[in-house]
């Protein structure tokens, strides 16, 4: 039996007395897409940071193809898991053109055909020559996020972690990037961990999801089942909080108060 692409086992992370993530486990098979859904303070971003080694779990561990991430070298880790953040300004060097940023990553990993791979990446994320020659400041928000995705994909990682990667984009641009991510997933078979507060977006991109509340997984399962027949009151609250025709925020407000008291 082959080991799953990504396995998180009993992850726990606390900052002082504040437990950000408690006993979190999941597996992601190759080509799969898993949503981590939650609000602020749910522990979803802490989890994302642990997955790329920016934070060390207090307990538990992360395995990539059966190997502990903690024992991997920096380059091995970079090839195993890559991340795209909400704000691409955080991950792109403002001084480098997009082409230079991609070239840097490929050189670091000793890629044999850097110009060829750069052309391939630009094509994959839908950026042209003009954008490749620009610095992050010279690009629109959507183009910057495409560049960040290209950079993350450069070394063909096994897992791509997307931390609210489309949340800051205008809705018309968000749709373009969502379609791009769906294509990337299909074409490269990269495993995706999609961290988001937006259930509709998670539904669009993921097969399965975990619902996190205050660092604890309150519900998990196939996305459609989770949306159609939510078992946990918090999952139900999240779903009913999404505005729609006939929406009654006052009803939801009562539901929320009952949950917080309980």
């Amino acid at each position: 039996m082959t080991a799953p692409l990504l396995e998180a086992v009993g992850l726990r992370k606390a900052y002082g007395a504040n437990v950000a993530v408690s006993d979190l486990s999941f597996t992601l098979e190759a080509g799969g897409a898993l949503g981590l859904v939650g609000e602020s303070g749910s522990g979803k971003t802490t989890t994302a940071r642990m997955l790329i080694g920016l934070e060390q779990p207090d307990r538990g561990g992360i395995l990539v193809r059966g190997k502990p991430l903690a024992h991997a070298s920096r380059l091995e880790r970079a090839k195993a898991v890559q991340i795209v953040f909400q704000d691409p300004y955080l991950s792109l060097d403002p001084r480098l053109t997009i082409r230079a940023a991609l070239d840097d990553v490929l050189r670091l990993h000793g890629h044999p055909d850097r110009p060829g791979r750069i052309a391939e990446l630009l094509d994959q994320v839908g950026l042209g020559e003009r954008e490749a020659a620009a610095r992050p400041r010279g690009l629109s928000g959507g183009q910057r996020q495409r560049a960040a995705i290209a950079r993350a994909l450069a070394v063909e990682p096994g897992v791509l972690v997307l931390d609210e990667a489309v949340s800051a984009l205008d809705v018309s641009i968000q749709a373009q990037v969502l379609n791009l991510l769906a294509d990337v997933r299909r074409e490269t078979g990269v495993g995706i961990v999609f961290v988001s507060h937006d259930l509709a977006v998670v539904r669009y991109l993921c097969d399965e999801a975990l619902v996190l509340h205050r660092g604890v997984v309150v519900e998990r399962g196939p996305v459609e089942a989770l949306l159609q027949d939510p078992r946990d009151p918090y999952t139900r609250l999240l779903i009913s909080s999404v505005p729609h025709t006939g929406w009654s925020p006052e009803e939801i407000s009562k539901q929320r108060r009952a949950l917080i008291r309980g």
């Binding site: 602020s40 959507g142 205008d170 373009q176 909080s241 999404v242 929320r256």
Partner: protein
């Protein structure tokens, strides 16, 4: 619609705002109405001019702007108004709630000082009366322990709680009109519902009119009676919420609806609007949406400016040269997706 007979709290007409160095006006021919007790949404992407429009209601115009047209708030013309008239509008007719509540408070002053200051300075209330009123307002926005919150500093409150303080602050002016500029965008979804519930209750209890500025078409349609859709400084379409969602008449509205993944129903590949919203440096020849519009006709849409065509009921309009011929097909596209 019976609403047409109600008095207008806010009436914007032919509003044009230009700044030096820009390729196009920030606002161009904007017209909208909010009537007494009505909830109206202004929806658009970044740079569409929705926030600029809302701010004009308080006489806040971009620096160096050239302004023409009319903005009437509670019977007072704001464009070209003197400081006395503006003060009256800002302290009695309309109040604004912003996206980031932390940007609107002084971090080193207590919530109590923040709330009582306008009551004492502008209303001339005594300290005791102002404090009593502040307590009442904090209760009205659903905060659990008003006496304690009066003594707290902003950093001691969560974003959702602080946004409620900002709503209480807006109410110190006893306005007829609330201008809410992305009031829940920085908040969690369940907190968003909470804030929207408070706004709904306040509107009902106090008969307030609301102009909600948002990028979220679903939120706009869920909480407002009518929706205006803005793009590149112009109103593209306006309609009652349910009509706009079920039967959009402008290709841009249709594009926005096709861009948001649905939470229920069949899941098809999204049909995003190609390209990016028009920057302020870019110039417009005809329809500002022409370059991104799948239905644009070269030589027509990119050269001829669409005149807004109002409907007979006065609550709907569309600014598209092809609206009449596209009508049925856009509705079919929309319903094909949601069936």
């Amino acid at each position: 619609m019976t609403g047409s007979a109600r008095a207008a709290l806010l009436a914007v007409d032919g509003l044009r705002v230009t700044v030096p160095g820009a390729g196009r006006p920030i606002l161009d021919g904007v017209a909208l109405t909010v009537r007494d007790g009505e909830a109206v949404a202004l929806v658009g992407e970044s740079g569409s001019g929705k926030s600029v429009t809302a701010r004009t209601a308080l006489g806040l115009f971009p620096a160096g702007a050239d302004v023409s047209g009319s903005v009437v708030v509670g019977g007072t013309e704001v464009v070209g108004a003197g400081s006395g008239a503006l003060k009256r509008v800002r302290t009695a007719d309309a109040a604004m709630i912003f996206q980031d509540p932390r940007a609107g408070v002084n971090p080193v002053r207590r919530i109590g000082d923040f709330l009582t200051e306008p009551l004492r300075r502008i209303r001339g209330e005594s300290k005791a009366a102002a404090t009593a009123r502040a307590l009442e307002l904090l209760g009205a926005v659903g905060l659990p322990d008003p006496p304690r919150h009066l003594r707290q500093f902003p950093h001691e409150l969560s974003g959702g709680m602080l946004q409620r303080v900002m709503i209480a602050y807006a109410l110190t002016a006893d306005p007829r009109l609330l201008l809410c500029d992305e009031p829940t965008t920085a908040l969690d979804v369940t907190t968003q519902a909470e804030i929207m519930a408070i706004l709904a209750r306040l509107r009902r209890e106090r008969g307030l009119g609301m102009l909600l500025i948002t990028h979220d078409l679903d939120l706009a349609a869920a909480v407002c009676d009518r929706v205006y859709v803005m793009y590149a400084g112009r109103i593209m379409e306006a309609a009652p919420s349910d009509v706009l969602i079920a039967a959009p008449r402008h290709p841009y509205t249709r594009g926005l609806l096709g861009s948001a993944p649905p939470l229920t129903g069949p899941l098809a590949r999204l049909t995003p609007i190609p390209g990016a919203p028009l920057g302020l440096a870019e110039t417009v020849g005809g329809c500002p949406f022409a370059a991104r519009c799948p239905h644009a006709v070269p030589g027509l849409c990119d050269t001829t400016e669409p005149e807004p065509e109002p409907e007979v009921d006065g609550d709907s309009m569309v600014a598209c040269l092809r609206a009449a011929e596209l009508g049925a097909s856009l509705i079919e596209e929309t319903q094909g997706e949601s069936s």
